[in-house]
Amino acid sequence: MVTAFQDISLDLFPGKVLALTGASGSGKSSLARCILCLEQPEGGQILYQGRDLLALSRAARLPLLRDFAIVFQDSAAALNPAFSVEDILAEPFLIQQRGISAAERRRKSRDALAQVELSPQILPNSPLELSGGQRQRVAIARALLLHPKILILDEALCALDLSTQGQIANLLLELKERNGLSYIYITHDLAMASELADDIIELSAGRVVRSGPAATFTANLQAGPQPLPARSAASDTVPGPEIPWTSNRW
């Protein structure tokens, strides 16, 4: 049994960006997977709006999880190559809005592409036929289809070249303003985190070692190591106990 996380509480407010930073293996992506219930810890709690996601049945959990969406780092791998862009965008509707007609699905897919500044001409294409930037835009479009409140960006810009990184970052900021989204931005790039985020939390070995507003975070770093306590005044979440964690993936 491995204790993967201890006393982690995230305060995320509407329209704000919270960056999670830390070295590889610090638990950033695993934390995101736990929030989305993609991993099942053997103990502890994952509290969202005061309700423990782990204690809920799948049916009871789903409406809460619809508030979340995720964009992964490697869009080439995160989009099923056997599906066309149209199939990828239509699938969430097939599952979560069953009554919707095919024409309506197509219209919504086109709207989603327009939102991320992509032409509807790519709808019949396979993700393999798109550039890295286009694929990441499709991944963002898919994530936004069901109007989540919180978008988790798991190293979503890392695999892109600098120019495309800038374009996608601007797009994300626009989408945030337009849709009132909140982001959990997972990255090891502190410079990009301080550009995009309102608050930054640094993880190490599953524990929060620093946290604070982005503007002061880099200044704190330059001043030397000063471990800060985890946030305790939770609005959406409350700190949970130590999470003993085993997973066959680790």
């Binding site: 989305l36 993609l38 789903l62 999880l65 619809r66 969406a69 995720i70 992964f72 490697d74 791998a77 995160a78 989009l79 099923n80 190559p81 056997a82 699938e91 969430p92 599952i95 979560q96 396979s126 393999l128 036929e129 991944a139 898919r142 994530a143 069901l146 066959n248 993936r249």
Partner: protein
Amino acid sequence: MVRTGQRLLHSLLLLAGVSLFSFVLLSVAPGNFFDELRLNPQISPQTVASLEQQYGVNRSFPVRYAHWLGSIANGSLGYSLLYRCDVGSLILPRARNTLVLTTAATLFAWILALLWGILEALHRGKWLDRLGGACTSLLLAIPDLLLGLILLALAARVTRLPAFGDGLGGAFGSPPAANAGLVSHLFLPVLALTLSVLPVLVRHVRSAMIAALDAPFVQAAHAHGIPAWRVLLRHALPAALNSLLSLLGFSIGGLLSMSLLTEVILGWPGLGPLVLEAMFARDTYVVMAAVMLSAVFLIFGNLVADLFLYWNDPRIRVVSA
């Protein structure tokens, strides 16, 4: 279209190469069919020499090879010195029997392996997976020969299942489905063959499914709230099929050659016993026909696997385009 033509041409060249290589190997092997006659004091050396002359076994290699190619063209596939008839009329009913056996066994093995392997992958690391792993290890550890003998002993002592023959009484032309005896005669050989190929298939299916279930797009589908059954059937299974289709090609390719030992032990009148007898007797053309039929199936299996892969894997289609 061009690629298909190239593949077909490549297949024909491969067949020509296999035929030449096999013919060379059989020719350089010491002795021939008539060597045993020389040991019989009642047959004079002149008679043996006359028979060798009559059946052309002492002719040069190119002449014999050309003669054999001619027999391929007219469908006789050569002449069997052991059975005194055309190889074609001898081998085709036996090949049909082998195909009945191996097709049934392959079908059962794949269906079981897919269910078993997927179940193990979904319960990775849990007791069901460990139990399944132990069962496949046990099956892998039992040699085919021992498995056949165990089933033969069980058939003889415990069940009333027939342990020899095809239940058709040699009536090769009768429709198999019309003969109830065929099913009971098939049971043991199909079981033996299924159990011998099953563990390898299960392990491949399990590992392919685990790799597919760990694929980022499958994780992404879970994260977007797609139900587990749909993620399994629409995302993970098609992704796992890519590696399994190549294995299916080998299964199809091995349809004529996989059951030799099982047929011999359990007395199934397929190609196995015939080829074994022909090899011991140095009945060259029977062996050649069996080798060529196996090669045709192997090439056909690979072609089918390639076509399935093209259909299933969009990456190949994108590269081709």
